[in-house]
């Protein structure tokens, strides 16, 4: 008996509509093409640009794997959005001869990353830790977008890696591919009266940054140019009530940092802390919520690590902080030049390698 007689009763045969499918297909193709072109033009008119690669877990994982693939003698930046937006990697490279690996993450507490590097016996590089006081000295770990990153870079599937590369090709050509300007995100930005004290999703962070290769990130130009977007960002950072930070959380943060710095230094690595500028109401809020003596100074004292606080250097004054938390693009370049200059002068780990590299 042949196979066909065994199975023929139930075989699935799909019905095809008796309709002008070719005409439908052409109509849909023309309409979608026209719609996408119009959408792209509209998004460009709103300030989106092709080549903004949209930071993501996959984008971060590419950078993280550079350390694992190298000699672990790298300069690595971790922290929250301030050190991410306020650092110009080209300036770093120009001044020191080595390009840092940018692993700072917006809306994320760097302490788990600091601990992770401390636990990695191979890492003996220079870790630049950006300190945003209300994040670093708190217990909040970060926004869900970047949750699970400490494992993700190792566990990312082949499919996700390939998809990320295809996504990069498209993002370099199409401005509208931006996770902050999806249809869903735009609908959620409609401001309606809510019940009780509900503020989200309206007060979620909207588009704030642009990301390029190597995760070179800077404040989105529209935050400087568009008053509404700038005002919204300030609203999100609030309330600026100066409510005191939890003393126990500060102690936990310092203790964790002490442990991590000790381990990294013990194997020849180095850790420096950098406090990037904030301004206006946000700055005043930070002064009251976590006074420097109780946070920053304590951190440096207990860890024994080197630190740069923007308040201490004249060359880091007068910078432009459009939404009170992040520097404008030009100011980020100035700030990078200033703080890397200080590091080159005062941190032997960096200056000795730069000298050796210049000599060779």
């Amino acid at each position: 008996m042949g196979n066909s007689s065994m199975w023929s009763n139930d075989v699935t045969v799909r019905e095809i509509p008796k309709a002008r499918l070719v005409a439908m297909g052409w109509l849909a193709f023309v309409l979608v093409t026209a719609g996408v072109i119009a959408w792209e033009l509209q998004m460009r008119s709103l300030g989106l640009v092709a080549g903004d690669l949209d930071d993501s877990k996959a984008h971060w994982a590419v950078e993280r794997r550079k350390i694992a693939a190298g000699d672990y003698d790298d300069v690595v930046i971790i922290g929250s959005s301030r050190i991410l937006f306020d650092t110009n990697l080209d300036v770093w490279e120009e001044m020191t001869g080595r390009r840092p690996i940018q692993l700072a993450l917006a809306g994320t507490n760097p302490r788990p990353f600091l601990t992770d590097f401390a636990a990695d016996p191979d890492f003996k590089g220079l870790l630049v830790v950006g300190v945003t006081p209300d994040i670093f000295f708190g217990d909040w770990l970060g926004i869900p977008l970047f949750a699970g990153l400490l494992d993700y870079w190792k566990e990312q599937t082949p499919s996700e890696r390939f998809g990320h590369q295809v996504g990069l090709v498209l993002s370099r050509r199409l401005a509208f591919l931006d996770s902050s300007y999806t249809l869903t995100a735009l609908i959620d930005q409609v401001n309606l009266r809510n019940r009780g004290e509900i503020v989200r999703p309206y007060l979620d962070v909207w588009k704030l940054w642009e990301t390029g290769d190597d995760r070179q990130t800077h404040l989105w130009s529209q935050i400087e140019d568009n008053e509404r977007l700038r005002g919204h960002a300030r609203l999100v950072w609030g309330p600026f009530d100066g409510k005191a930070m939890d003393e126990e959380a500060i102690a936990r943060a310092c203790s964790q940092a002490v442990d991590a710095v000790k381990k990294i230094r013990a194997r020849g690595g180095e850790v420096v802390f950098v406090r990037a500028p904030s301004a206006s109401l946000y700055y005043e809020h930070e002064l009251h919520a976590g006074p420097r003596a109780k946070t920053w100074d304590r951190l440096l004292r207990e860890t024994g690590a080197y630190g740069i606080h923007f308040d201490d250097y004249p060359e880091m004054q007068g910078l432009e902080v459009p939404e009170w938390s992040h520097l404008s693009r030009d100011s980020a370049t100035r700030f990078t030049r200033a703080y890397v200059g200080v590091l080159m002068k005062d941190v032997p780990w960096l200056s000795s390698r730069a000298a050796a590299q210049a000599g060779s």
Binding site: R14, P17, L21, A28, F176
Partner: protein
């Protein structure tokens, strides 16, 4: 890989091209098989070994069972036991291992015995529940004498592995798919276009409605750790009902569309379930390939409704409880299945006592019963979505008006999105309840269908999506 990813678009384009090259049919089937393995390995390459093991075991066991057809029943049954043991063993280890350990620990603790289970860090292989059911259905069919073993190992491997159904169904039977491998298949122009149309429809359901429209509201409500008010509890649950439908039906629609683009037919997995009138009707419309699998390979072998009335109810409950457990290693899934079992039993009891058969004649009664069914189905979704019974209890208290001092959860924009989308989903399902999509498209002006198709694709593109996995992958 997931259907809603850029990787899949590239993969599928290359595969379509390969499938249209002037190669022999055997070569094309090899291409499809290799592509299906690539599709699976793109998630986690080592787990492909499990897929191979499941495929090989059932290939040989089905042949062993068939060769022993003239021998004793015990002989054949011992072959079957090996198949079931291997397949259930795989699922048991990877999916239920931690669950079993935790329950064993709880049992020991109740006897005042301190037992600390080893740390369980096992990754659940994607789709394992689906492909093991596919291979088991093949062996069971041979054991039950419903069919003979497939002659070609290539056809058999392709039946098990064919990528559109591999990781989240539809759970195909050999009879539905294997004969399609005997003759060369290549989609004609209309099949290709209709297949692409189905893919667009499925992506729209997944990316725009499930992920973009409803997931945030469902997540927000089910994440609350305090009391949830009446409106929020209902809207969060309704949002999840829409999300799970659009996520899973979207997947199945893409699977059917992708197979059709290659010239193959896969069966429907959903048929407007939220327009069901009663629960037996619901299960004829929801995850059809699983409900028929459970009926044919569990409920009927248990005796179905052939024994006493009490035995029928026991069989019904057992089937639904195990169906619940199939979805996930948690007692909340068992509760979900158990509640559906109770609904089905109650419906059967009422029908038996009243003698009522079929659906009400008057439309208003049909609608009222349909909406009651949908409301009660929503109650079951609470157990399906909540991580714990405490979480489920919080939502149920809110839904039945017992929540005290609940803070509002959902922003107005979320409430509007849920209200509009759920109304559209339910209304569409009622309109389409007794109709086939293909017939509706045949009767609709071509330009209108083209316009709708364009709108859906445009919405998918501008919603972008983040390539989130389909919910049923975890099962």
């Amino acid at each position: 890989m997931v259907f809603n990813s850029l990787t899949f678009i590239v993969f599928f384009a290359v595969l379509l091209l390969l499938h249209r090259l002037p190669l022999s049919w055997t070569t094309k089937k090899f291409n499809l098989l290799i592509a299906s393995y690539v599709f699976y390995a793109a998630w986690n390459p080592p787990f492909i070994i499990l897929l191979w093991a499941s495929t090989i075991v059932d290939w040989f066991i089905a042949r062993g069972i068939y060769a022993a057809r003239d021998k004793s029943r015990l002989h054949r049954r011992s072959w079957l036991v090996i198949s079931v043991a291997v397949n259930i063993g795989f699922i048991g280890f990877f999916k239920y291992g931690e669950f079993l350990m935790q329950n064993w620990q709880a049992l020991m603790a109740s006897l005042d015995i301190a037992y600390v289970p080893p740390e369980w860090n096992i990754v659940l292989p994607v789709g394992i529940s689906f492909y093991t059911f596919v291979t088991m259905s093949y062996t069971l069919d041979v054991y039950l004498g419903r069919s003979k073993p497939i002659k070609s190992p290539l056809d058999y491997a392709l039946f098990v592995t064919f990528f559109p159904h591999l990781v989240a169904g539809p759970i195909v039977r050999p009879t539905q798919l294997v004969p399609q491998f005997y003759e060369p298949k290549q989609a004609n122009r209309d099949q290709m276009l209709w297949g692409i149309g189905l893919i667009i429809l499925g992506l729209f359901e997944k990316v725009v409605i499930a992920d973009g429209g409803l997931a945030s509201a469902a997540d927000a409500v089910f994440a609350v750790e305090k009391s949830v008010g009446f409106a929020d509890a209902w809207l969060g649950t309704l949002a999840f009902s829409g999300q799970i439908f659009c996520d899973f039906a979207g997947y199945s629609t893409i699977a059917v569309g992708a197979a059709l683009c290659l010239g193959f037919g896969l069966p429907d997995n959903f048929r407007m379930p939220y327009a069901a009138i009663g629960f037996s009707d619901f299960w004829r419309r929801w995850h059809i390939s699983l409900s028929t699998w459970l009926r044919d390979y569990l409920y009927v072998p248990l005796g179905g409704n052939r024994g006493s009335e009490a035995r029928t109810y026991v069989n019904l409950m057992l089937t639904m409880l195990l169906g619940g457990l199939w979805h996930g290693a948690s007692w909340t899934f068992v509760a979900w299945g158990g509640l559906h079992g109770l609904y089905l039993a109650a419906e059967r009891w009422i029908r038996d006592r009243t003698g009522i058969r079929g659906e009400p004649v008057r439309w208003i009664n049909r609608l009222a019963l349909g909406l009651l069914t949908y409301a009660l189905v929503n109650v079951t979704w609470v157990f399906f979505r909540a991580d714990t019974f405490e979480g489920a209890a919080r939502i149920l208290q809110g839904m039945f008006g017992f929540a005290a001092e609940a803070e509002p959860v959902l922003a107005t924009i979320y409430m509007i999105k849920v209200g509009v989308l759920i109304a559209c989903i339910v209304a569409t399902q009622w309109l389409m309840r007794d109709r086939e999509l293909e017939r509706v498209v045949s009767r609709t002006p071509w330009w209108l269908t083209g316009l709708v198709c364009a709108a859906m694709l445009f919405a998918v593109i501008v919603t972008q999506g983040s390539g989130t996995a389909f919910i049923y992958f975890q099962f």
